[in-house]
């Protein structure tokens, strides 16, 4: 298991982010200075299926990215429900924001499964998934950890996955990490402030 380097880096930048905005702290963890977001697409695939979400094609939108799995009963639904609340709180400001659930469970989830799961929380939410081979470089590029816990040959294994939602701005820069449990209204507040 690799240490989540990006997480450490971003956690180290909390203080920096807070000091820059001492008057009103962010709810998320600010990456300051912002870094280009790693790609979110199947590496080595010349032509992505049109239906599959890619970050490159989302340039111009603020994108929330969450890495989870559809058999996740606790953390993932909590986060996506908070996203749905954030989306409602944003009102008209939700234009230009995309909400993407990325499955890190290639054994059980297809892109269609991930998309159907995301839509349960809001019809505009998107979902995508990777094959085992495609997922490895994504985890490496994002410096995140995701792996099965328990026997993946049995139906009841769980998947360790990143805790935070990532926020990528319209210029494709990684700007925020939102911890689990942050209320939708607070997420909306951060997103408004980012734009």
């Amino acid at each position: 298991m690799r240490p989540p380097r990006l997480v450490s880096l971003l956690l180290a930048s909390i203080g920096l982010g807070l000091s820059a905005c001492a008057e009103r702290p962010w709810h998320g963890i600010v990456l300051d200075p912002p870094a280009p977001a790693p790609p979110l697409a199947a590496a080595g695939v010349a032509e992505e299926p049109a239906s599959r979400f890619t970050l490159a094609a989302a340039r111009g939108s603020t994108v929330l990215v969450y890495f989870g799995y559809t058999h996740c009963p606790d953390v993932c639904p909590t986060t996506l429900a908070d996203w749905a609340r954030a989306r409602r709180a944003l009102g008209a400001d939700t234009l230009g924001v995309r909400w993407v659930f990325v499955s890190v469970d290639p054994t059980r989830d297809t892109p269609a499964d991930a998309a159907a799961y995301a839509r349960q929380f809001h019809p505009t939410f998107e979902g995508t998934a990777f094959t085992d081979a495609e997922l490895a470089p994504v985890l490496r590029d994002w410096s995140i950890a995701a792996y099965p816990e328990g026997d993946p040959r049995t139906p009841d294994y769980t998947v360790a996955h990143p805790a935070h939602s990532f926020v990528v701005d319209a210029e494709g820069r990684l700007r925020l990490m939102i911890p689990p449990g942050v209320h939708g209204d607070s997420i909306a507040e951060d997103l408004r402030r980012l734009r």
């Binding site: 989540p4 953390v75 639904p77 009841d156 990143p162 935070h164």
Partner: protein
């Protein structure tokens, strides 16, 4: 409302043998059978309250989680040692943990209910995992869950399905 311990529901008793819960919170069929014996002294000594029980909507075959508050109003500690439900192939008490930016879940073999204490099962913490649902759980439905206790009794809980 206080739900006093009472005889196990027939649905639980009939389901016990078929349920093989994974993850360390296995159901002991003999325990379920024992709970059908009426023992008023136990019911009088231990008073458990289950309230605010709800579970997430999910499709048939998928995974859901149930949450509730357990209050032990009695003077005797008890422990949840297993779960039965008609709605899922398997059920277990789980704990969500965050370590170094990564979320993990693990099964809790037992859930202690100290005398006089309230134990809250809530999102991002302790929850009842409902694995391989036998039917779709839709908002407004209810799901019956039996908490098997070390005292030998079963606490019946009715969880309402709702989106959080």
């Amino acid at each position: 409302m206080v739900i006093r311990l009472r005889k196990i529901f027939a649905v639980f008793a009939s389901g016990v043998a078929a349920l093989a819960c994974g993850g360390g919170a296995d159901v002991d069929p003999s325990r379920g059978a024992r709970a059908t014996d009426d023992d008023p002294t136990v019911a009088a000594a231990v008073t458990l309250e289950a309230r605010e029980a709800w579970a997430r909507p999910a499709d048939s075959g998928a995974t859901s989680a149930a949450y509730l508050v357990l209050a032990n109003r009695g003077t005797t500690a008890d422990t949840v040692v297993g779960l039965v439900t008609e709605a899922a192939e398997s059920a277990a008490v789980h704990q969500t943990m965050q370590r170094e930016g990564t979320m993990h879940m693990s099964a809790l073999p037992v859930l202690p209910l100290p005398a006089g204490a309230e134990v809250s099962l809530a999102p991002l913490g302790t929850h009842v995992m409902l694995l391989r649902l036998r039917r779709a759980l839709r908002a407004g439905d209810t799901v019956a869950i039996g908490l098997l206790l070390a005292s030998g009794d079963t606490l019946p809980v009715s969880a309402v399905i709702r989106a959080p």
